[in-house]
């Protein structure tokens, strides 16, 4: 497709979905069809300010104020949006050392985050350290394979959440990485790790069969993939049916575009991850048909810089 036609068609599609009968083809996708926009980050790592101009990499990129502006624009374009994060909000700049994650949670609340999960760095100040700042987050933490026992942290973290967006029922669960060689035992005291594959299978069954969700999203902080036997987003996507989208983190992987894992039976799982430090904002648009089945997916990445197109 030529660029010119592409742009024109895009504009039509972008503006047209909400206009019903005026747009040819509306009868095909159905008047009751929906478009749900998923915006996502991972491993933001206390990057409140953009990277300094003197930084060897990603100079001038990122920063919460510009990400907020971008999110606001995208939300204005499609209110049927969710803003999700895949963990490791903590650690990475002196802002964490000084404000212990509280500032990040406050800013994420103002930006309208709908959920995040628990990354390994969320334990950097111990379970106590998380508990001290968790109430500054006005959004839920979702983690399904950590057993939080009797910790106060456990009273704040949800096994799953369900959101109704544009008439589509979306179930969201979360996965955390094994503590081995990552989190010192005294820092995750009282919290136990369970196998992500088993837990994911249970969560999907629960969300789809019992709660009747049309779409299932996994916020994962287990990593995109490994060369060894460690469980990863790839492994979960291949071994567990029924997850539409895995929003990944931990490995700081800049996927050029989301990856589609297709099963022989036609089941599809998208995996997306956008590096780290809020350098890039990810977007996927899920189009649903009249029966609230996924009819199509479009995706895009926005570099968070002064000029949107100065880095890709």
């Amino acid at each position: 497709m030529k660029r010119r036609t592409f742009l024109r068609n895009s504009a039509i599609l972008g503006a047209g979905v909400g206009m019903g009968g005026l747009i040819p083809g509306a009868e095909v996708i159905g008047a009751s069809s929906a478009r749900v926009t998923i915006l996502h980050t991972n491993d933001t790592h206390a990057r409140i300010e953009p990277f300094p101009e003197t930084a060897p990499n990603y100079a001038g990129m990122g920063g919460v104020a510009r990400r907020a502006a971008l999110v606001k624009k995208l939300r204005a374009e499609n209110p049927d949006s969710l803003l999700l994060d895949a963990g490791d909000v903590f650690q990475g700049t002196p802002y964490f050392n000084r404000f212990h994650g509280r500032l990040d949670f406050e800013v994420m609340t103002k930006m309208g985050y709908d959920a995040t999960t628990i990354g390994n760095h969320e334990f950097d100040n111990g379970v106590d350290g998380f508990e001290k700042v968790m109430d500054s987050a006005g959004f839920p933490f979702v983690s399904s394979n950590y057993d939080f026992g009797t910790t106060r942290m456990g009273m704040r973290v949800r096994k799953f959440i369900i959101r109704q967006v544009g008439g589509v029922k979306i179930g969201i669960f979360g996965l955390g990485v094994s503590f081995e060689n990552l989190v010192l035992p005294h820092l995750h005291k009282g919290v136990r790790y369970n196998d992500p594959v088993e837990v994911s299978a249970d969560m999907v069954a629960d969300l789809r069969d019992y709660h009747g969700c049309d779409m299932v999203i996994c916020l994962s902080h287990i990593g995109y993939r490994y060369n060894d036997a460690r469980v990863s987003d790839r492994v979960v996507a291949e071994q567990v049916d029924g997850i539409d989208l895995i929003i990944g983190g931990h490995t700081h992987t800049f996927l050029d575009e989301p990856e589609l894992i297709e099963k022989p039976d036609g089941r599809r799982t998208w995996i997306s991850q956008v590096g780290f430090a809020g350098i890039v904002l990810g977007r996927l648009d899920f189009h649903f048909d009249r029966d609230r089945q996924v009819a199509g997916v479009r995706h895009h990445r926005y570099p968070v810089s002064m000029q949107l197109d100065e880095w890709a």
Binding site: M1, R3, F6, L7, N9, S10, A11, I12, L13, G14, G16, I23, P24, G25, V28, I29, I48, E49, G63, V64, A65, R66, A68, A69, L70, K72, K73, L74, E77, Q91, P94, Y95, N97, R98, F99, L103, E106, V107, K110, M111, N181, L184, E257, L260, R268, H287, D289, V294, A295, G296, V297, R298, H300, Y302, V304, S305, M306, Q307, L308, D309
Partner: protein
């Protein structure tokens, strides 16, 4: 339709069908992967977002006091340095300072003698400047949240560790002296004495080297291990902030 259409009419009539086809391709196709625009089409204009993003005013205003607070913290002057501290092998002024501080602090925390300390040169990220040294300088020097780990080894193991350090032409050390010849540590002295293979020695390092990082696998097999609740960056800040001035020093602790 058999009559021919003027170009204008043609467009008016055919475009809706084109769009319908495109929407079909977008939303009704069974091939979702194909829906992703090809690379050259994946422009930033696609979602009606134009070239510039200005910072969100409300968020900017909210974080301003924190940014100022952070600047105040980071600009705090800790001490004045009479020369720049540089990383070098087999011995460098920056490594000497960092390793001495870690051994000093580990001894104070353990309340017993810590004989040796070892820090990886790679973890010392930037030199320290001559003149005023700020908190920000120390964050740049040591951005990692590593803490002091104290490990116990036999003298025999300690000699092996010295050899492993010699293999990379030395790391930052304190409390131990040796000469590197052909990649092997010779004339190893700890506390001015030769090393007794059967005695036990405490070695302070960072948790990264203790947990599998760095050039010395013997560090991963200690007889005992204590993880101190002291960040290495904090130890450096606390130590130098008590000094009116600091000056770089070499004492041939590791030499070729």
């Amino acid at each position: 339709m058999t009559i021919s259409l003027s170009p204008r009419l043609y467009l008016q009539n055919i475009l809706p069908f084109l769009f319908a086809a495109i929407i079909l391709a977008s939303c009704g196709s069974t091939d979702q992967a194909r829906l992703a625009p090809a690379a050259d089409e994946d422009t930033h204009i696609y979602y009606d977002i134009d070239g510039e993003i200005e910072a969100d005013e409300a968020i900017s205003a909210y974080i301003q006091p924190y940014i100022r607070d952070m600047a105040r913290t980071m600009n705090r002057v800790l001490t004045v340095s009479e020369g720049s501290f540089e990383r070098d092998t087999p011995e460098g002024t920056l490594g000497n300072l960092a390793a001495d501080i870690v051994r000093y602090r580990a001894t104070a925390e353990m309340r017993e003698k810590v004989h040796v300390s070892i820090m990886n040169n790679g973890g010392l990220r930037v030199p320290l400047p001559e003149g005023e040294v700020t908190v920000g300088n120390i964050y740049e020097l040591m951005p990692f949240e590593n803490h002091i780990t104290v490990l116990e080894f036999t003298g025999e193991q300690l000699l092996r560790i010295a050899d492993e350090l010699a293999g990379v032409n030395g790391e930052a050390v304190s409390g131990i002296r040796f000469r590197i010849t052909d990649g092997i540590a010779r004339d190893v002295l700890v506390d001015s004495s030769t090393v007794d293979p059967d005695s036990r020695y405490w070695v302070a390092t960072n948790n990264w080297m203790a947990d599998g990082g760095g050039p010395s696998p013997t560090l991963w097999e200690p007889k005992q291990r204590r993880d101190l609740d002291v960040m290495i960056r904090d130890a450096i800040i606390e130590y130098i902030s008590r000094k009116e001035t600091i000056s770089p020093y070499l004492d041939n602790r590791v030499r070729n």
